[in-house]
Assembly symmetry: C2
Homo-oligomer: 103 residues x 2
Amino acid sequence: MEQFDNVSVVKKANVYFDGKCVSHNIVLADGTKKSVGVILPAKLTFNTGAPEIMEVLAGECRVTLSGETESRTYKGGESFKVPGNSAFDIEVVDTLHYVCHFG
Amino acid sequence: MEQFDNVSVVKKANVYFDGKCVSHNIVLADGTKKSVGVILPAKLTFNTGAPEIMEVLAGECRVTLSGETESRTYKGGESFKVPGNSAFDIEVVDTLHYVCHFG
């Protein structure tokens, strides 16, 4: 599925890390919130509030979850889970297109 | 209106100029296509296919339309029109959040 249908989109983007990460919030018909975004090549640390599933649509990244020592590589078609109130280090090797699923 | 309701959103973003511009395409219920995006501080030249109305939600830019010599400044709440098959130079002074209306 290349698009979300019947959703609301917040017009103003979320811009993090001087624009290395840009996302737009969307709300599905059932009230579920997600975001669609891009992370440019960079090494960044993200903190989570709610648990997240990061669905990689395209690109490539190496992710190290908080408390872990080894990174794992994720490419388009793959996903990774991040616990709530946690963090992860991400090294984007090739511009990452993603959907972030919360909760 | 801070959001578009009942729209489709293409999950994968458009990334231009090494990520200086990131946008997502949306389709309204009546089939109208728009995009919502961000331009980071930079001097860029955009080419248009269809005519565009750039609605600035937040930020600040100086725009020089193709064929004109003087720039005009646009801030949040303002818009500018660009003819089809044309171009414009834009200097983003403060990160620009925009909606692009086509046609």
